[in-house]
Amino acid sequence: MDTNILTKLTDTQWRIEPKGPMRVPGVIFGSESLIRDMDDKVVEQVSNVASLPGIVQAAYAMPDAHWGYGFPIGGVAAFDPEAGGVVSGGGVGFDISCGVRTLHTGLDRAAILAVQQELADALYYRIPVGLGSTGGIRLNDREMDAMLAGGASWAVGQGYGRPEDLERIEERGRIGGADPHQVSDRAKQRQRDEMGTLGSGNHYLEVQEVTAIFAPEIATAYGLQPGAVLVSIHCGSRGLGHQIGTDYLKRMALAAGQHGIRLPDRELACAPINSDLGRAYLGAMRAGINCALANRQIITHLARKVFAEVLGVDLTLLYDVSHNTCKLEEHVVDGRKRRLYVHRKGATRAFGPGHPDLPADLSTAGQPVLIGGTMGTASYILAGTEQSQELAFNSACHGAGRAMSRHAATRRWQGRAVQNELAERGILVRSPSPRGLAEEAPGAYKDVSEVVTATDRAGLARLVARLEPLVCIKG
């Protein structure tokens, strides 16, 4: 986009001045080159979000922002229910509570290389991945509702993991206020055989090596050393979340008029937080969050079995954080504490040091912010900062963001060639779909390093460590 339409506040902070129906300004974070590469649609969508009722302070876009639906991907916006604030399905996304969980293996690169093929094959065999794959768990109606109310905590109760895992998951593994009765039968039907599945697209399980440490003190608090091997899981609430998104997008679009909300575009469908529909969506969306947390817990259990069998080691949680959510949080705005509904769509929550929601042993370091890269580049671990609260309601980027459409990627690359090229670089990729691999080729994404560097420079989160893949299981 043309940076002349923005007011430059700092090297990494750009303002969209309020005009027309905008109630607050827009703020885009990013280096000048990232901003130049951004779609014009980002400005349009941030401006639209800034015009929604009850928005507080500003509508934000993270350095990896791109054209989404309703909200941009990488969009952050907080709404005050007491000021007519709204909740928007498009502000959360279809893949509710999609996120990243990272686990310690206690191993180093050499230990993995000794069994790399065997490990890649065993993970690929054990963890359901790709379109049409099903998990080994079937839930009846009662169990489905228990899972939606209980999240990872439910999963641990079923034997998938240990109680101490919950300490290192946002909301201690279970978000309150979930209402399984607000989730449609169709959504539950889509989830029947999808528990413990990774899905497709940009979702993955990776075995990664720590190849750089940028903040040694925080890295130590996180248990990270150079050469240490981690496992990261990127997936969400599967079919259930997708169907909740579908169901409520329509309900909110149809009801907007009754709520006195004039939508510039149907894709901005939303409902007042203090309305029956708003409450229903929040109940269903929180059930979707619990589904995602349970799903990542079950996949963790499957990965633990493989690591125990192949390498005789256990996996312990570093952290689990989502990047498609709407959460009720307390924030100080203009010197006053307010309870706000913070939408993060393709943006990661990033609580700074001392935040009361952090587990005691992470309180000094700040919350781990887990940023997924591509299968051929790097992922990063950052930490929440003191100033991220006032910058963007404790939010940071979530990944690289696509630089190229799926179509353009399939025209440029062939899946098996991508796989072979990565194998030559020591990265073993296992996937049922060659076309999926071409669509997910590393070159189809923006440079994740530039995104996290801009995030660090902007003060949204602090760079802690770089991770590079050794094994990637991809949908």
Binding site: D39, H66, W67, G68, Y69, G70, I73, G90, G93, F94, D95, G130, L131, G132, S133, T134, R186, Q189, R190, R192, G199, S200, G201, G239, H242, Q243, G245, T246, L249, K250, A253, L254, D265, R266, E267, A269, G401, R402, A403, M404, S405, R406, H407, A408, P432, S433, P434, R435, G436, E439, G475
Partner: protein, 146 residues
Amino acid sequence: MSDNPPRPIPSWEHFEHRADMGVAGYGATAAAAFEQAALALSAIVCDLARVTPKQSVAIDCEEPDLELMFVDWLNAIIYEMAVRHLLFSRFRVRIDGARLQGEAWGEPVDVERHQPAVEAKGATYTALSVQQEPGGTWAARCVVDV
């Protein structure tokens, strides 16, 4: 885009959206455009030529707004693909007022043979339009989240 040279009718295409995928269908009637857009949706998932239309599923929608009906139709196909583990390669649509009666033909997913690339999560209201173009052709389009 396929405006130049003139596109055959009926036909479908994908349009660019960086993160997701746009689907567009064109036909002599809105119903024909819906059928074509459904092919575009299926082609996001896999190569249509690999899918044999062996079995059919009836898909009905009730919605007075033609654009919302279009999104309902695509979402109903996504739902049937997901819960029945089917891929589709042929569609028929009849629209009678607010009522859409559709049929989708396909077969169960065979990962080896079909090599599906990515699942569709949901059809969105982004870039949504259903309209008759000046030449009389109906066009139906929207972005699908993948």
